[in-house]
Symmetry: C2
DNA sequence: GGTTATTATATGTCTAAAACATATATAAAT
DNA sequence: ATTTATATATGTTTTAGACATATAATAACC
């Protein structure tokens, strides 16, 4: 087994866990879209650092379709390469509602923890 | 490559990303503790579902020590098996401060996204 | 006309946090 | 004696996301 190998400084990179799935479901809730379109809109949702990985998006779309949360049709009208356009299903819509619940719980626990952290940060600033 | 194999219903299990590290750092900020103690206190922090995985904790403690964020001493006083007691270092304390910043950013993006989700949930409840 | 850029989809491999499982030992409780 | 609680540790699997690259159609450029 290879060694874990992290920086001695304990540096870490923040990873937003499972944000692609709910983000895509949300963007498709508004209206049907193709992968590339999602790729350009995802950063505006604020969940992201710099660039979006196309691989992650197209793979997620395939998974969502397999799970029946979205369905797709090829769109060959217009210019450029063919687009696979995804539509949110009823199942997908309900899934998004459940995601909202889950994310709210996530926020609540995050809030509780941040409150504790802020309390100790306060103490830190008291001593100059 | 094995198949992804997720439930057809699109079920997912919430995973709290990178919560063990800041949680342990926070608990050690209060006072030095051994692994088993952390294991019992972690659920109270709210980040958790049901049970804590001891493996994750002990491995994280080893990593934190390698990174110089904590240091440990064996405590053989008292009854029961020997305890390895961990103390937060200055580096560890600073690391916790940086974690606080990172988690605040995480909360902000989560808040922004939840605001959008709540807006569509509102619309859903409007139609009976 | 030929090269480059943009639009668009797709697959392959790697990383690492967490989940799941199990091994080991001391001592107290039944 | 056997079970339970305390305590630490390692082995294996899963999986979201990161990183890299392949592909093709068409538009834009010189």
């Amino acid at each position: 087994m290879k060694k874990m190998q992290r920086q001695g400084c304990g540096c870490y990179r923040e990873r937003h866990n499972r944000w692609i799935e709910p983000s895509i479901l949300y963007l498709l809730y508004e209206k049907k879209k193709h992968g590339y379109e999602l790729m350009t809109e995802l950063p505006e949702l604020g969940f992201i650092g710099k660039t979006v990985d196309p691989g992650a998006i197209y793979r997620m779309l395939r998974h969502l379709e397999q799970a029946g949360l979205v369905f797709s049709q090829w769109d060959t009208t217009g210019s450029g390469p063919a687009r696979r356009v995804y539509t949110l299903s009823d199942l997908g819509r309900n899934h998004l509602y459940r995601w909202a619940d889950a994310l709210e719980k996530r926020r609540n626990s995050l809030d509780a923890f941040l409150a504790k952290l802020e309390a100790i940060l306060q103490k830190k600033e008291d001593k100059p």
